[in-house]
């Protein structure tokens, strides 16, 4: 749970350790779930160390479009945009008509709008965009705290029990792990930036050195984050 009296870094590390406990206990039911679990564990380790897991590996420029388009674009387009911006190695100045403060307010309000729909992946995606663009606003902070507050005592994020009951075990595991990766990715970006990062990364005490390094590529199955609702299958071009 986010605690206003606790330094941000401590809060994030605490959340990461709890998430790591959960991911360690999960027995993946397939290759996809196993890959997601590995990513989740590495993201947790990155949060603890204050280091970004996913490098800026995309050579394409990623530009934030005019802000009103973020409201009218589909959820899938918005998630894809967040991924491009998070992974881009350069961010040319966006053609915005407004300053940083208004951009930050806009993104923060949009993130909280998705929070009203319990859409954690979208909240996470918008928080990543805000963090990548070094934008600051109380609403972005609120979105970050909202994500942390969604963590359950067992380390999972989200209030998924009712939905998960409608899925078979394999699909449920994968849905939980996908959501876990989305939220942890956002928290990893926050933890490696500004007040979330430690000046000196702590010595790693959890599982990490033996983990296989992951080369990030949006095309790699384990790195592709579905934009579909839980229960739908991602065909690659749409949700079915």
């Amino acid at each position: 749970m986010s605690n206003p009296d606790q330094p941000l870094r401590e809060t994030l590390v605490q959340a990461a350790e709890l998430a790591m406990d959960w991911a360690t206990r999960v027995v993946p039911t397939g290759a996809q779930a196993d890959a997601l679990r590995q990513v989740a564990l590495q993201l947790c380790a990155g949060i603890r160390e204050g280091t970004r897991l996913f490098g800026r590996t995309l050579s394409d420029d990623a530009t934030l479009p005019a802000l009103p388009l973020l409201v009218t674009m589909s959820r899938g387009e918005m998630m894809a945009l967040a991924n491009r911006i998070s992974l881009a190695d350069s961010l040319p100045p966006a053609p915005q008509e407004v300053g940083d403060a208004e951009q930050a307010r806009f993104l923060g309000a949009l993130a909280l709008s998705y929070a009203q729909a319990h859409d954690l992946p979208c909240v996470s995606a918008l928080l990543r965009i805000g963090t990548r663009l070094s934008l600051h606003d109380p609403w972005l902070t609120e979105a970050r705290d909202y994500l942390v507050d969604q963590q359950q005592p067992d380390g999972r994020f989200g209030l998924l029990c009712a939905v998960l009951r409608t899925l078979d075990d394999g699909a449920a595991d994968e849905a939980m792990l996908r959501l876990q990766v989305e939220v942890l990715w956002a928290l990893n970006e926050v933890a490696s930036t500004g007040s979330g990062a430690s000046a000196t990364p702590p010595t790693r005490s959890g599982p990490s050195c033996s983990m296989p390094a992951i080369k990030v590529s949006p095309g790699l199955a384990s790195q592709r984050h579905t934009q579909c609702e839980i229960g739908d299958s991602d065909s690659g071009i749409g949700c079915v």
Partner: protein, 316 residues
């Protein structure tokens, strides 16, 4: 940011506003407080809302004058329609039959009373209700209390002006909490609180700077959410609330206002995206009554919003 052009007749968005008024006037007959001899509460609610908008427009016509000349074309029709219902003896008796519903039933009368209209029967009903302890004994949520106080005050039934600030302090707006959990009821509570305590833009909000800033922020955040999900009814109320709070220009406000204007078709504004899609889908097969029920409230909101925005620029 460019200031809206002030049209010499009705407001900065003269043409759309006249289209709203024309649509509403043409469909007045769809407001039906009685159906098959029984009270139809959605109809009573619509009548009360109509009376409130009429009272605002009458007030602006008197107080501001310039720009409201076109209102004269509609005012008499609206007033005649309302008084015919209010003076219907079956309607008039209902408040005495059911004192717990009396305020609701009398609110159209209270609005007309504010502009000088009097009915001996309804005046006697008000005295009886006072004797019976209504509506005082009836528990309501804080923003509804603000609503009630405003109606009685505007009707001239209160000797002293209510303490708007004290009433505001009990509402959601005074402590809105996280935007992540603000629901539809909370959003309506905020808009009603602002519209009532500011008397639809006629009075500055009785808030200090920090309270006003917090209110502006909460309203603007909610505005983006309801714009995103296409709830035009709340978008309209939130835009009007921002004008009542004298909000500075912002991207969220401008974009949501453009989307709200674009939601109107032939003068009618559907309540939300689903209503708009349904109207589009069913087309001529949809009954006038259904179309009216999907659009009337948001169209009234659009009338208020356009006028409050216009008044703000005139008065500043």
């Amino acid at each position: 940011m460019m200031r809206p052009e002030l049209h010499p007749r009705l407001g900065p968005n003269n043409k759309p506003l006249l289209a709203h008024l024309t649509w509403f006037t043409r469909n007045l007959g769809e407001i039906t407080p009685f159906v098959d001899g029984e009270f139809h509460f959605p109809g009573v609610k619509a009548l009360a809302e109509l009376a409130m908008v009429q009272a605002c427009l009458d007030d602006w016509r008197t107080r501001i004058g310039a720009g409201y000349e076109s209102w004269d074309l509609y005012a008499a029709k609206w007033r005649d329609f309302m008084t015919a219902i209010i003076e219907d003896r079956a309607y008039a008796e209902a408040a005495r039959k059911s004192p717990p519903h009396a305020y609701f039933l009398l609110s159209p009368y209270l609005m007309l009373r504010g502009s000088g209209y009097r009915s001996a029967y309804h005046e006697h009903t008000l005295r009886l209700l006072e004797k019976w302890g209504y509506p005082r004994t009836q528990e309501v949520v804080p923003y509804r209390l603000l609503d009630r106080e405003l109606f009685f005050w505007k009707a001239g039934c209160r000797a002293a002006e209510p303490d708007w600030r004290a009433l505001y302090r009990q509402t959601t707006l005074a402590a809105p909490g996280s935007l992540a959990f603000l629901d539809r009821d909370g959003a309506y509570s905020m808009t009603h609180t602002i519209l009532y305590m500011c008397d639809f833009g006629a009075r500055r909000a009785p808030l200090d700077r920090a309270e006003r800033d917090a209110a502006l922020r909460a309203v603007e955040g909610a505005l983006l959410h309801y714009w995103r999900i296409g709830n035009w009814d709340l978008v309209g109320e939130l835009l009007a609330s921002l004008d009542c709070l004298q909000s500075p220009a912002s991207l969220i406000r401008e974009c949501a206002a453009a989307a709200f204007r674009a939601a109107a078709t032939a003068g009618a504004v559907p309540a939300d995206r689903e209503a708009a899609e349904r109207i589009h889908r069913e087309g001529a097969a949809m009954s006038t009554a259904t179309c009216f029920s999907l659009c009337y409230h948001t169209t009234l909101v659009a009338i208020l919003q356009a006028c409050i925005e216009r008044n703000r620029h005139v008065e500043s």
